[in-house]
Symmetry: C2
Subunit: 454 residues, 2 copies
């Protein structure tokens, strides 16, 4: 391991206090590897500022010394966007965990970047409002990381992704200056949308230190229905009719056969249908009272099971939510998070197995995801972990159908080399120009999203 | 009138055809003044390209000759953002009026920048979907102008502003290169959000030539309720409870006394209440069947009148929608479109008359607007049209309460001089850096949004 240039620890300790500059290799190690263990880096130090002013001072110090900064929240990302490059300072946001009062009139709250999603959820619970984005990583993922990656999850269909929740940010720019807009104005047409630009910028344009978040009304009642369908096209069509006719849909998720059977076999679940249909569609409605009649009318022609009590809903969700767990029992998967135009989803899903089999005849493809958003998680087992050809083959198929190589996970380091598959030279030129404008020295998360070479 | 430098008309005619380069002063005049007649400019020529390639060629020609370009759609803007600076080429988008098929599965459509909102609405009608943004200027305003100004209107509460409808854009950059992303992906986390950045950029970063737009389900049933409330605080509180408890609110609008009486007197409307309350709140619900019981329960304690038939709903809307018309009968108003944090709305509204009276003791203040968004339209009559002190005094009051000097109209030329009231030096520096990055020669709509001086 090459020894990275060591930053002046004393100078950083003078800013954040000696307890919050971590240089011990064993302590640092936890910040240098992503949670999957697949991506590793090395850092010069881990710095944990406790205030926005400390963040600004750290950024100014790094800018003066041309030291790269890698912002890191809960370190739950899936594309290695928070794994440090050699010699970088990891700027951990964990201590920026303030939570303001819930404004019950506006339905808003201000959260520090280091606040975990779970703490935010508990903080809001019981106010009649809830936060509109929910993720499996809720116990560890942070508000700042969710902003940086424009996180999605299970409720995008209803409430949009993180960008739709962020009414304003506080952030430290690459020169150490601070922008702060936390008044929670729903409408503000006074210039370029900086919060929207920072959402999804993966720490490459600024260090987000806090966000003003909109909340959504907490529904009193929920119902989950599993529907068996003969094809992905049929599932897409039913989803479209449900979206058009049923107010209050919270989720439209799908598992393609034989995923439900796999979950039942591997996890000991009871099969929901006598024979697994080609597509198992999970529909969740949330609101007050009974769901609209259109839900039953549209679902009525198909095999379906429903539950409106918490235990029953959880049992039906398990076939979808535990797909990753079931797949992990049969192998270490390649995981690709992609979106397709809805009209291309069926063709794409039919083509994936052949594309994979051409490279690895004995590989298995597992498809499931957020059908309502056109977002599939393509998991492939039976392929060596380091093989990149299969990933690239599937991503090229996605791009050929007009899709996106990253629906909700971002680009990070993992997909930076493939960004040009998806984005045109003109689009990449715009991104590079924006990066150059906001971070001319290139100290913020270098190598993430945009590669170093032209 | 100084004679502007004349661009090479022959070169532009070779691009778009001689019929589409307008140089006759009388013909040009209609493009050189805003619809209110308050803002005037002069142009060297008006160019009407018919394709994105023609737009690109015009932009490249202008870039080579350092000729400013002012994009113009329906010319219905309220802040003079489409009024040309001397010597500029007005790039009229009216011929870019293509409309793609409605995708009934995705609920999406692609529209050329020059498509009017009304044509878009007619195009979508009958498909079960509708476009989520609606404005009074629908007959003339264009999709491109709505993107450029991040237009708001009556339905922001339910569906968000224009930025929330735009799933992708086709645009010509300042160097004549074209970016195009019209596949309609709901989720796409592959880099900086260019469509979101262009929304609200007022033609200063690129010329938008088409947009992929999301549609929303068309509700079958609607009900409008007018509610009389004793104060703006009470109206804000009731609005918050309605937002939290009633799924399917389409509008929460308010008229402050004596606006309803003024409309009745000036326009011959029948008063809805025996005595005008301090605030008349208009609540619209839309969905299928009956509104949730919570609507009647929350409104029940107050004076209220309701209508669920089209004629009745229109009569109730008239008290709110015809405010501008009624005010115009008593004088030429100063019009200020502002947002406040909801918690400051009542204090702000109470202070406005005193701030205005300190300058003009006999002026009248008329307040109404989109209460659910914290957005008030402050109209002031009895002040000379050219007086800017009263505008600035009200805008300073807005900023003092943490509000925005432009909620939904944008900055344009009209408010460019006041942008620094609202935006910090660090925020302005970011905007200037982004502008410099995307338009280094400064040819796109100079003087709009950002002033020429530092």
């Amino acid at each position: 391991v090459p020894s990275p240039p060591s930053p002046d620890v004393a100078a950083l300790a003078a800013i954040v206090g000696p307890d919050h500059v971590l240089v011990d290799p064993e302590v640092r190690a936890g910040f240098e590897v992503d949670w999957t263990g697949r991506w590793r880096g090395t850092s010069a130090a881990v710095v944990r500022p406790g205030t926005v002013d400390e963040v600004a001072a750290v950024v100014r110090w790094c800018a003066r010394h041309d030291t790269p900064i890698v912002p890191q929240g809960g370190n739950t990302g899936l594309v290695a966007g928070a794994v440090p490059s050699a010699g970088a300072v990891v700027l951990s946001t964990t201590r920026l965990d303030s939570l303001g009062p819930v404004d019950p009139v506006a339905g808003q709250v201000t959260a520090g970047a280091g606040t975990t999603l779970e703490r935010l959820q508990h903080h809001v619970a019981g106010t009649g409002w809830m936060f509109g984005v929910d993720l499996g990583a809720r116990a560890a993922c942070s508000v700042g990381g969710m902003v940086a990656t424009n996180a999605g999850g299970m409720r995008v269909l209803r409430h949009g992704s993180m960008r739709a929740q962020v009414l304003g940010v506080e952030a430290v720019l690459a020169d150490g200056s601070v922008v702060r807009r936390l008044e929670g104005l729903v409408k503000d047409n006074t210039g370029y949308d900086l919060p929207g630009l920072l959402c999804g910028s993966e720490g490459t344009l600024a260090v987000v230190t806090a966000a003003r978040l909109r909340l959504v009304p907490e529904p009193a009642d929920r119902i989950v229905v599993l529907v068996g369908l003969p094809s992905l096209e049929a599932a897409v069509d039913l989803s479209a009719r449900l979206r058009a006719e049923v107010e209050g849909l919270d989720a439209l998720e799908a598992v393609l056969a034989p995923g439900v059977t796999l979950a039942c076999e591997q996890l000991g679940l009871a099969p929901p249908f006598a024979t697994e249909p080609a597509v198992t569609l999970l529909v969740e409605w949330a609101g007050r009272g009974e769901p609209p009649d259109a839900l039953a009318a549209l679902v009525g022609d198909h095999d379906a099971v429903a539950a409106d009590d918490p235990g029953g809903r959880e049992r039906l969700w398990a076939y979808r939510e535990r797909q990753s767990e079931a797949i992990a029992r049969v192998g270490v998967p390649h995981k690709l998070d992609v979106t397709l135009p809805l009209a291309r989803l069926g063709v794409f899903a039919a083509e994936v197995p052949a594309v994979v089999a051409a490279l690895w005849p004995h590989a298995r493809c597992h498809l499931f995801g957020h059908l309502g958003d056109g977002n599939l998680h393509v998991n492939i087992t039976g392929v060596p972990p380091d093989d990149k050809r299969v990933d690239e083959a599937v991503l090229r198929l996605v791009v050929g159908h007009g899709g996106s190589i990253s629906a909700e996970h971002g680009v990070g380091r993992a997909k930076a080399g493939w960004l040009a598959l998806q984005r045109s030279p003109a689009e990449l030129a715009v991104m590079r120009a924006v990066k150059q404008a906001l971070d001319p020295r290139g100290i913020l998360n270098p190598g993430v999203l945009l590669t170093a070479e032209g």
